[in-house]
Symmetry: D2
């Protein structure tokens, strides 16, 4: 089958011809890919940022945001069968550890992460497990929803954690209105009555943000901290959701967080430098966020099927993976790029 593989860091991935995956365990599931999202994390993988943490032997297939149709299942699989339309929780989890059982399966002690720690879904077929499959209406087109499997779940997971802080009368700043941010804004607008301020360097992204529910938009042109201070009467925001967290956004995000507020780190790439006196004198928090749980994805699908979250996507054929990555890197993608094999 055709697959987009990374052969070396700092080089563009190649479209290779590789063997199809095989079922070996009773809970294995092979999915025929209908859509595979292209993510800023793919750029970070190519830059080698994840190598130290993952040590995944090269070459391997990229793609951690996948939807398609069940192709083949192991002998113990009871929840899906061949032909089912599915979107995939990005992790392959055990279901037996304390984290999996506590509703926190992102922290499965023996999980695998296709597209990061082993072969992913920028290919014709993907090997995953029964536990990762969220069954969809048969008529759903996988390419239309694939972006929910990582961009969507990650944005939803952070918003869900922020909801208890965002009672009516509060303010939430969103940094970055791209692939993740444009979903996060919709989740906030649907699930809270908070005032939403969106910060982005790109005026087109801000225009989209307004349509999706932002109450105020701020161009990140150097004056963004002052603008947020003005909009919040000098108090800062109750929560800041930072979908960028690099190139200075991370220090902006912290500075925009008000007393007793929380700064949610979702993007990455930058480094936070914070005196502990600043942390304690204001009792602010920094909240880590990594993808989301299977139930987060299932809940997000309920939102999407109810029309509360709409994706903005642009499709590319699998062969054009390098173009999609280049467009993303250059800021030419509104919403999310999706590869269709």
């Amino acid at each position: 089958m055709k697959a987009v593989r990374l052969h070396e860091f700092h080089a563009r991935p190649a479209v290779d011809d590789v063997p199809e995956p095989k079922i070996t365990g009773p809970l294995d599931v092979i999915v025929k890919i209908g859509g595979a999202g292209v993510c800023r994390t793919d750029l970070h993988i190519i830059e080698g940022q994840w190598d130290e943490r993952m040590h995944t032997p090269l070459p391997y297939i990229l793609g951690h945001e996948n939807a398609g149709w069940v192709h083949e299942v192991g002998s113990g699989v009871t929840n899906v069968r061949p032909g089912d339309t599915v979107i995939l929780h990005p992790l392959v989890t055990c279901g037996l550890c304390h984290a999996c059982r506590a509703g926190d399966d992102m922290h499965c002690t023996s999980g695998a992460f296709p597209g990061l720690s082993r072969d992913g879904g920028m290919a014709e077929f993907l090997l995953t497990s029964a536990r990762a499959c969220v069954k969809l209406n048969p008529e759903t087109r996988p390419q239309d929803v694939a972006a929910l499997a990582d961009a969507g779940i990650t944005a939803y997971h952070a918003v869900r954690k922020a909801i208890p802080l965002l009672h009516p009368g509060t303010t939430c700043v969103v940094i970055g209105a791209g692939g993740l941010g444009h979903i996060g804004i919709q989740c906030l607008a649907t699930l809270t009555a908070a005032t939403i301020i969106v910060v982005d360097a790109n005026p087109d992204a801000l225009k989209l943000a307004e349509q999706l529910g932002a109450h105020h938009t701020v161009v990140a042109d150097g004056g963004q901290r002052d603008a947020v201070a003005d909009l919040t009467g000098g108090r800062g925001a109750h929560a800041v959701l930072d979908f960028v967290a690099e190139q200075g956004a991370e220090m902006d995000g912290w500075a925009m967080t008000g007393e007793a507020g929380s700064y949610f780190v979702i993007g990455y790439g930058g480094t936070l430098h914070v005196p502990t006196l600043d942390i304690i004198s204001t009792e602010r928090n920094v909240i880590g966020n990594i993808v989301g749980t299977y139930n987060d994805l299932a809940e997000l699908m309920a939102l999407a099927q109810g029309g509360k979250v709409t994706l903005h996507t642009r499709t590319y054929p699998l062969d054009a993976a390098a173009d999609a990555l280049a467009d993303l890197d250059a800021g030419r993608v509104r919403g999310r790029a999706i590869l269709v094999p």
Copy 2:
């Protein structure tokens, strides 16, 4: 009256003769001080660390950890009367803002902080308000409990926030077994079944920690990160309570925090440097902590009166304030130093 006043930064405070405070508002309360704690924050004030944030005009009276007897009350005070033994919530709060009404009075939008933002309690008398008074059994000696008013409440506040993370089978690291830490350890031992690991550079402090409920102690001699990694099977702690957060402890605390865990910053003075990739890939949190609420203090008094929290203190006459500060700075105080006017 006699009072310990700071006249300039980086210089030792003087014991001056100053006028007694006067009642001017209906909710004012004047307390005759029975005990005023000496805190690392007093050292930080003298170093000028708080000046940028507080801008308090010099000279002013130090002392934010106070207990004593009600001396005089304003016309609208209903909850205490002259002669009552009281311990004082360190903040003077309005009771009318959203924070005060939400059980979060540390973030009162018009609060004052005697000893930081105005004259404090290292004196014969202190001006505070009705809302700050916690009434005690008449026979309680203020000097025996004063340390609960800041060291105690701060430690309890952080422990209370950590409790939901610390179900049986989890591990909590405590960095620093001094004035705050020795109370935090007792709160943890009473209110959770977590395994408690205490890290401190001072072997005597660790000996005290063991008596107070620590399951493991680690000397901070350079090998503390490895020691905690060993004790946690390489997973790190579910929560780290850092009562030091300077001179490298802050980076230790972050490193000792396990995946999905929380690092509680309570001490201060250092600076945290954290790549956002480290935050998101492990979904760790940094939790700010500042003193505690009035109810925290009331609950802590219930623990103390039930014998669950015992203070280790050393008293000094008011005139010896400089000695007490010097002893604290040199690490010569086990537990807490208390000035007795």
Copy 3:
């Protein structure tokens, strides 16, 4: 001044000429009433249902849902001044007890409840306290918002407690789409993505419910339990908000609550009969609700001013209080009846 007073139980209240209230304490506030809501609780008071609990000596002035303009203030009042437009938290609370400080001021240990435990607001002037006043934009007409002071806050309080149960994909049943229910539906529609099923005996009320955000409506004609079972695939609802809780609604509400779900009692008058086996075998909860906190009211005003909650009211002159009560009793009021002095 004119005032609507209850002289004996089971008799209609009279419009009397009584002395105006006077300021006696430093935190007292006298409000000139602009609108006083008429509530089912007023009918229950007249029936004597609250006498056993309140023992309020007759005659007294009814009216616990009030808005108007500050007329006079005590010497210690700092948050409002004469002329301010205000809506009033229905309780007069102390601000000093554990409950007041814990964000739970409905359970103030020394609170008073004008209109139930002492003279209320169906009059030209009302005596309350500084802590009860929520300041509004000067141009707000009190009669337009008064219904938020009790019907609104009560509905919002219950919804706020239910939100953590109502993630996307869940179902909430609302029993009763009257004065409280029509606000509750709007709060649910704004703050959750749950599927909302509204049950009421009155087809007009159900028509209003649909306009306000109900996804399904069910006529309470005897088949309501089956209808809800059908709409939930036999599983029952995750939460049931019962704004009636009398005349059989209470047993309906319990029966409509699904496994691990919660039945919120907000209305009253009936009696619940539940075998403990039914409680434990399904792990269902019964959640009590009484009015709401000051912060609930402030947050609800934020929703109302953002246009997320719109009141349906019908005004009557103060002299027509008996007509308003009769209309309410006969089910002739859509939304809420408001007396305007």
Copy 4:
């Protein structure tokens, strides 16, 4: 093998010779029973109380509180192997539904309950699944811990839900100091600083309660409501854990619950009759409780292995099951009766 089977309701179970269970699915596990607890629920099953809900065809093997050694495993089992010492979560759960994934596996939508809905563990061997096994230290004697599998987990589950209500200074009433209650008292004493009041009709049970951490004990001789009112200054308890909930205890429990408090129903058999006015005017809650989650059991084992929870048990050979049931029914068992095959 020998097994204790129920052939008809209202008759004592028989010890029969039946075929051993067989592995049929990849995740099946057969456990050689080392200890099977005898529970008040077994008496209720015999009385037919569960038949309406479970419809389990007679005869079937009783026993839902089991520990032993893994005897045989299916092809897909990875977490245990033959010879492992295990205690069993009482439910056989799917791991795939929303509840299982949300840390709420007691509400598995396709779970089975050996001993209630199919053959249980009062036998030489029991068929369960990989997900039910909690691995223990090899030297643990199953008969010493079996009572934690149902009595223990149920008590712990309720205490864990009550902990957020039980900050220092609060009061918790425990009704019933038998098989479940004597564990609940220890969990409360270890995990909270609440004042614990234990109510039981049996003076010996109260003596045990005192040794286990009760601060006050009350004989249930008719004056128990007054006694609790006296001990709480007329305010009632913040939480009541009712391990009896029949023969009047259920109305006692509700009456002992203070304003804004919660009444936890754990035992069963009686019927609660509560006017909705009583529920709302005090904002009290009734909280259902059914067994507990797998993680609850794992956490409880951590408490037990740390010596924080000690069981009081009395063993009987499997053949003497009828004697054990009779002793339990007659109130002759202190702690828990355990059958040892």
